[in-house]
């Protein structure tokens, strides 16, 4: 959660009556900042290009020290017209199109996308966004691909899958922002309340929202760590989140790893209990994403930036614990999540009924952090590879860099007064096992249970 050590600049106000761009306390400050902003844009673009060319810091440093910064700049400039790229970024100030449609699935992961509508974050960027509830992941993918939606809420593996043509035609797709981290849980039917050890789960039937979802990878990871082969010892099927509780109630499934509010809803209706939160598998894992086609990003840079800015600001707002109740009230009605407000509130505040009679408190049950770490993409790709969803050699770093637009997010986070991380990759560990994004192949090979 490093991004939000200082979430709001002191001068920055959400409903700013300050300057025209909303970043400065007054118009005077805005003008003053203009010059330095230009310089920063140039730096950001240069940095992005350098990172694109040298995904690994070590390589870049080696290159720079070997040829000297000046030579390097000239060489890079010959390959990539930095000046025009910088210009493109700077010019993209005014949205080309203001009436937009953004699709969402009614789960709490979509909180920033949804709340930005009733709480005025889109409006503040001069956008008139209609947020459209959508029936399932395949439909949201198809509607996004068909340009019915300008941008859409997706599961973070989906942009990678779309870009690579896994499960659909390859279409260059981007994921400029993560929406939430954590916020999922494994829920089991109440009748399994004594089977808390996954080793006892052989023969059970589980549901995940989609094949290309963090839910699928996390559940598989969790099961495999307990020695359960997710393809042979249990059944995992894709079930749309709204149908999960009904299926659990009807005993069609024994449990699921699902996004909230589905887990909390199962508890609310007395059909299931929360076995573990997904943060107990990997604290800080990404889940859902804000995504758009590469075409949208390149053809409407102004709109794209305004939209992304609204999302990032909404995400920042959502991250603050004191705002969570207000958000729950805004997104619970029929028009959005269509859930009892208490269910949404329990998810967002982290003070929740566990389904076994206890009340638990975990303020980090769900967190909001827009930064699309490229190493997240690499980890997802290793799992796609591990479970045989992608075959052959994968250029992990390139795909991650193409799809997870960390650079843009970073710049816009800075503009929003947030503290973006210095780098776009980081190491983390999943269930205690460290992951090094520079060594994806070794990581895949290190698992005992895998399909590749």
């Amino acid at each position: 959660m490093t991004t939000f050590k200082d979430p709001f600049d002191a001068r920055y106000r959400l409903n700013s009556r300050g300057c025209s761009c909303g970043q400065h306390g007054s118009e005077a400050e805005h003008v003053q900042a203009q010059a330095s902003e230009d310089a920063r844009t140039t730096r950001v673009v240069e940095g992005a290009v350098m990172r694109a060319l040298f995904p690994h810091d070590a390589t870049r440093r080696a290159f720079l020290s070997a040829v000297g910064a000046g030579t390097a700049f000239a060489a890079v400039n010959a390959l990539f017209p930095l000046a025009s790229a910088t210009e493109a970024f700077a010019q993209a100030a005014k949205p080309e199109k203001t009436d937009l449609k953004v699709g969402f699935i009614p789960i709490t992961c979509a909180t920033p996308i949804i709340m930005a509508k009733p709480m005025g974050f889109y409006e503040k960027q001069g956008l008139n966004v209609e947020v459209v509830k959508t029936a399932g992941w395949a439909v949201i993918r198809d509607k996004a691909i068909n340009k019915e939606y300008d941008a859409a809420h997706m599961l973070s593996p989906m942009p990678l899958a779309i870009s690579m043509g896994v499960g659909s035609n390859p279409i260059p797709w981007t994921m400029p922002a993560v929406e939430n981290v954590n916020g999922q849980a494994i829920t089991l039917a109440v009748k399994h309340k004594d089977k808390r050890d996954p080793k006892d789960w052989k023969g059970m039937k589980f549901a995940v929202p989609f094949d290309y979802s963090m839910h699928n990878y996390l559940l598989r990871y969790y099961l495999a760590e307990a020695g359960i082969d997710p393809d042979r010892d249990v059944q995992i099927r894709a079930v749309p989140p709204p149908e999960m509780v009904a299926n659990l109630r009807a005993d069609n499934i024994d449990g699921f790893l699902a996004p909230d509010p589905v887990n909390q809803r199962a508890v609310y209706d007395g059909v299931g209990f929360i076995h573990i939160l997904s943060k107990e598998i990997w604290d800080g894992h990404p889940c859902c994403a804000f995504s758009a086609s590469k075409q949208f990003v390149t053809e409407m840079p102004g709109t794209y930036q305004a939209l992304l800015k609204a999302i990032i600001e909404a995400t920042a707002f959502a991250q603050k614990a004191e705002n969570r109740k207000e958000i729950a009230a805004a997104i619970a009605p029929t028009n959005y999540l269509n859930q009892p407000q208490t269910v949404v509130e329990q998810v967002l505040t982290g003070t929740y009924a566990d389904g076994l009679g206890g009340v638990k408190k975990d303020p980090n049950r769900i967190a909001f952090d827009p930064f699309p770490w490229e190493s997240f993409a690499v980890w997802i790709l290793t799992q796609m590879k591990r479970w045989g969803q992608i075959k052959g050699d994968v250029d992990y770093a390139k795909v991650a860099n193409d799809v997870f637009l960390a650079t843009d997010a970073k710049r816009l986070m800075a503009e929003a007064g947030l503290m973006p991380p210095e780098t776009t990759t980081k190491t983390f560990s999943v269930m205690g096992k460290p992951f090094d994004p520079t060594k994806p192949d070794e990581y895949v090979a290190s698992f005992a249970i895998k399909r590749s």
């Binding site: 509607k143 709204p242 007395g270 009605p333 269509n338």
Partner: protein, 282 residues
């Protein structure tokens, strides 16, 4: 005698309804539950009433459903954002889709069926295609439609189109092909022109069969639109059902089911009326 029969039938209907509602009421009576007894009040505040008792949440009682139904009927045309509109508006969306897809299908199926029925050659040649395409669940076309048409609204209409097409096409072709030989002979000996023959002899002769096809089609179209809208979402009564399923709101779902049934019945009655207009006794 006839009036007493319908009176008795009406009475029986009321009785069956009362028995059904009674059984429903009895089945949904709040039971004593497992009687968990002392539940942490903090916990109870976070879950539904039934769950607080250690039970699964209950099915709504007839009164609950009646209240929900009344709530919807009182204000059927409200708009509270793109994803929350009155049930009347949703029904209108669904009806609109059904009618557009259905009329398009009729515009294609009836002339085409006519040609197929008139020519034994095309009848035979197209038969295998029709036989293969006919049994495909219309919803199976949905991914293909979304992929090729690239518009979910049009895709839903396409699915209605495709599912209404076959009964009308097959019945038209069959009706036209089985116009009695003697009527055609009459037309032939009277040297009735091709155009007049089509409209004055074949069409009226085949009309009852065509109408049967149209009636089957509208029934299927109405069945399919609900499923299609559940799949695609956005608007329509199918979306309404899906959205309330999302919220596990059984009362709303039962309300929607009732309304779907009523509209389906109205559509069927309308076509039955139309069928009576073209029926003839030999």
């Amino acid at each position: 005698m006839a009036s007493s029969l319908s009176l008795r039938a009406g009475l029986l209907s009321v009785l069956i309804f009362a028995a059904f509602v009674g059984a429903w009421q009895w089945a949904t009576l709040p039971g004593a539950g497992p009687g968990g007894g002392a539940v942490d009040p903090e916990y109870a505040a976070l879950v539904s009433g039934a769950a607080a008792q250690g039970a699964k949440s209950a099915f709504p009682t007839p009164a609950d459903v009646a209240a929900t139904l009344w709530g919807h009927l009182k204000d059927p045309f409200y708009v509270r954002g793109a994803n929350d509109q009155g049930v009347g508006i949703q029904l209108a969306y669904s009806l609109g889709r059904v009618l557009v897809g259905y009329l398009l299908a009729a515009a294609v199926a009836i002339p085409l069926g006519f040609l197929i029925g008139m020519s034994p050659l095309t009848y035979k040649a197209l038969d295998p295609f029709i036989q293969i395409l006919k049994p495909i669940s219309p919803l199976a076309w949905m991914p293909l439609a979304l992929y090729t048409i690239k518009d979910s609204g049009v895709s839903a209409i396409f699915v209605i189109f495709i599912c209404s097409l076959w009964p009308m096409l097959i019945n038209t072709a069959f009706g036209v092909a089985s116009v009695r030989k003697e009527w055609l002979n009459v037309a032939a000996t009277l040297e009735v022109g091709a155009f007049r023959k089509a409209f004055l002899v074949i069409l009226p002769a085949a009309a009852p069969t065509i109408m049967t096809g149209m009636r089957i089609s509208i029934g299927i179209a109405w069945l399919v639109i609900v499923a299609a809208e559940m799949l695609v979402g956005g608007t329509g009564i199918g979306y309404f059902v899906w959205n309330e399923w999302n919220n596990l709101s059984i009362g709303n779902i039962i309300t929607a089911i009732l309304l779907i049934g009523l509209v389906g019945m109205a559509l069927d009655l309308a076509l039955a009326r139309a069928a009576r207009l073209v029926a003839y006794r030999e």
